[in-house]
C-alpha cells in the first residue's frame, strides 16, 4: 500500500496549502486524483513521491513509515516510487542526451552495466527512436521529452508511479501513447499508480477509481 494519512503540507509553516489530506493506493491499483488548479494536488503528489516534507501526517510505503524526505529518505524507498512531472522541459537536465537522461537513475544507483539494454527496452515501450535518444532536450518536442521522462521514471522498475499532470501539456495522440506505456508497464510489473490531474474524462477512463480533491482533504484554507 501507498498510504497518505492526514497530510498537512505547504511552503510556509503557518499557512499550509491544505490540511489533513488522506488517500491510499493498493498494489496494482490505479487511482486518479481530480482537483481544481492551485488546490495543492501537486504538492500532495510531491509528498507522495517523498520529495516534499509535510508539516504533519504520515506516509507509509509498503508498510514502512517514511521518516525522511528528499535526500534523507532511504534510497530503497525513494526509488520504489517513480515520478513524472507536468513540464518535461523543467524536468530534464538540459545537458544530458535523452539516452543519458533515461539511464541516469541506473548510474546514480550503481547499476551502470544494465543501462544499454534497459534504455533500448524502455525506448521501445515509450516510442522513442534511436535518433531521438541521441538528442538533447532542446532538440526534441515536449511530447518526445515527456516520453523520455516517463522512461526515466520507469527505469528502476518502481512499485509505485506518481504522475503529476503528466499529459497536461501534450496533444491527444501523445497522451494516448504515454497512458498506454504506463498501462503496459503496470500490466507487466503490477505497479500502483497515483495519477493527479484536472482532466476528468481522461482520469476516469484511465484509472480504476478517481477521488475528488474535496473528499480527500479535511480543510482547505480559503475554501
Amino acid at each position: 500500500m501507498l498510504e497518505l494519512d492526514a497530510i498537512t503540507a505547504g511552503y510556509e509553516p503557518r499557512t499550509p496549502v491544505f490540511r489533513g489530506a488522506s488517500l491510499s493506493v493498493a498494489p496494482g491499483e490505479a487511482v486518479g486524483l481530480l482537483g481544481p488548479s492551485g488546490c495543492g494536488k501537486s504538492t500532495l503528489a510531491r509528498v507522495a513521491a517523498l520529495l516534499h516534507r509535510p508539516d504533519a501526517g504520515r506516509v507509509v510505503v509498503d508498510g514502512e513509515e517514511v521518516r525522511g524526505w528528499r535526500h534523507r529518505a532511504p534510497r530503497h524507498l525513494r526509488t520504489a516510487i517513480g515520478v513524472v512531472f507536468q513540464q518535461p522541459r523543467m524536468s530534464a537536465d538540459p545537458r544530458l542526451r535523452l539516452r543519458d537522461l533515461i539511464a541516469e537513475p541506473l548510474r546514480a544507483t550503481g547499476r551502470r552495466d544494465e543501462a544499454t539494454d534497459r534504455v533500448a527496452e524502455l525506448a521501445r515501450t515509450v516510442g522513442l527512436t534511436d535518433d531521438l535518444l541521441g538528442r538533447r532536450p532542446h532538440e526534441v518536442s515536449d511530447g518526445q521529452l515527456q516520453r523520455a521522462c516517463l522512461a526515466r521514471a520507469l527505469v528502476l522498475r518502481p512499485r509505485w508511479l506518481v504522475c503529476d499532470e503528466m499529459t497536461a501539456m501534450l496533444d491527444a495522440s501523445t497522451t494516448a501513447a504515454l497512458v498506454a506505456a504506463v498501462e503496459t508497464y503496470r500490466d507487466d510489473h503490477g505497479a500502483g499508480l497515483l495519477a493527479v490531474g484536472h482532466d476528468r474524462v481522461l482520469l476516469e477512463r484511465w484509472c480504476d477509481r478517481t477521488a475528488q480533491w474535496a473528499d480527500c482533504v479535511e480543510q482547505q484554507p480559503g475554501a
Binding site: 535526500h71 512531472f85 523543467m90
Partner: protein, 288 residues
C-alpha cells in the same frame, strides 16, 4: 517605421561589438604568441646588464629604450608580461575553483552550513581585499607563489556568491527532484547536475578575473611586496622606473604601463562579449 529605426540601431551596435571583439581577440592572440614564442626563439638575456647603455631612449636597436642598468626594455616587457599573465591565469583559476567549490557546497548543503559559510564570505568581503592581499603576501618571502596565493585567497568570494545563487535557483528545479527520486545522492546531484550548470558562469568569472589578478600582481610588486626586484614583472618594471620618471625619462614607465593596460583591456573586452552571449540582458561592463 519604428521597426526600421530599431533594426538599424541594433545593427550599428552589433558592428561596434564585432570590431571590439576582433580587436580584443587579435591583441590577446598577439600577447599569447609573444609570451610563448619570444623567450625560446630570441636567445637574448633579459637580465644582461650593460651600464654603458643605461637609460637610452627608444631607438631602432632598442625599440622601447633601456632601463637604468642598460637592460633592453622590450625584452623586459615581454618577460614581465609573461610572468604577470602566468600569475593572473593561475590565480584566477585557483580562485574560481575555490569559489565554485565553496558556493556549490554552501547551496547544496543549505541550512547551517550555508549560513556559516556565507557569513564568512561577508566577513572576508568587508575587509578591503588589497589590504588582505598585502597581509597574506607579507607572511612569505617574495616570489611568484605567495603572490598567486594572496590573489587567489582574496578573490574567490564573488565567484562563491555567484555560484551559490545560481545553484540555489537550480536546486528547486523539477529535474533535481527527478534525480533525487531516481536515487541520486547529494554528491551525485551536485557533481552531475549542479556544478556542470554553473560552469559557464564560473568560467566567465574566471576570465574576467585574469586582468584583475594581473593588476593585483602589479600593485603588490609596485609596493615592493610582490615578486623579487630582479624578476621582470610589469609591476616591478613600473616600480623601478619611478625614479627615472622624475628625471624626465618617460619610456621605462610608459611601455610597461601600456603592456599592462592594453592586454588587460583586451581580455576584459573578450570576456564582456562572452557575458553578453550567456546573459544578453546585462550590458557589458569592464570589471577591473
Amino acid at each position: 517605421m519604428a521597426d526600421v529605426v530599431w533594426r538599424s540601431h541594433g545593427r550599428a551596435r552589433r558592428s561596434t561589438r564585432t570590431v571590439r571583439v576582433s580587436v580584443s581577440a587579435a591583441i590577446v592572440t598577439a600577447v599569447v604568441l609573444a609570451v610563448l614564442v619570444v623567450p625560446p626563439l630570441v636567445q637574448l638575456d633579459q637580465q644582461a646588464v650593460d651600464l654603458s647603455l643605461k637609460l637610452r631612449p627608444p631607438s631602432p636597436a632598442h625599440p622601447f629604450g633601456t632601463d637604468d642598468v642598460g637592460r633592453d626594455l622590450l625584452l623586459r616587457c615581454v618577460y614581465g608580461l609573461r610572468v604577470s599573465l602566468l600569475v593572473g591565469l593561475v590565480a584566477a583559476l585557483v580562485a574560481t575553483v575555490i569559489g565554485t567549490a565553496v558556493g556549490a557546497a554552501a547551496a547544496a548543503f543549505g541550512g547551517w552550513t550555508d549560513r556559516l559559510v556565507m557569513r564568512l564570505v561577508d566577513t572576508f568581503s568587508s575587509v578591503p581585499h588589497l589590504l588582505l592581499g598585502i597581509f597574506i603576501v607579507a607572511m612569505f618571502r617574495p616570489g611568484v607563489w605567495p603572490v598567486i596565493v594572496s590573489v587567489a585567497l582574496t578573490h574567490w568570494l564573488s565567484t562563491a556568491r555567484i555560484v551559490r545563487s545560481e545553484v540555489l535557483s537550480l536546486r528547486s528545479r523539477p529535474y533535481i527532484d527527478a534525480a533525487i527520486s531516481g536515487g541520486a545522492s547529494r554528491w551525485r546531484v551536485t557533481v552531475r547536475h549542479l556544478v556542470p550548470a554553473v560552469v559557464p558562469q564560473a568560467g566567465l568569472a574566471a576570465v574576467l578575473m585574469v586582468p584583475h589578478a594581473m593588476w593585483h600582481e602589479s600593485a603588490l610588486s609596485f609596493l615592493g611586496l610582490g615578486l623579487p626586484a630582479h624578476q621582470a614583472s610589469l609591476g616591478n618594471l613600473v616600480q623601478t622606473a619611478r625614479g627615472s620618471l622624475l628625471a624626465g625619462d618617460w619610456w621605462p614607465t610608459l611601455f610597461p604601463g601600456l603592456f599592462l593596460i592594453i592586454p588587460t583591456l583586451a581580455i576584459a573586452g573578450l570576456a564582456g562579449a562572452w557575458r553578453e552571449r550567456i546573459s544578453p540582458r546585462r550590458r557589458s561592463e569592464l570589471m577591473l
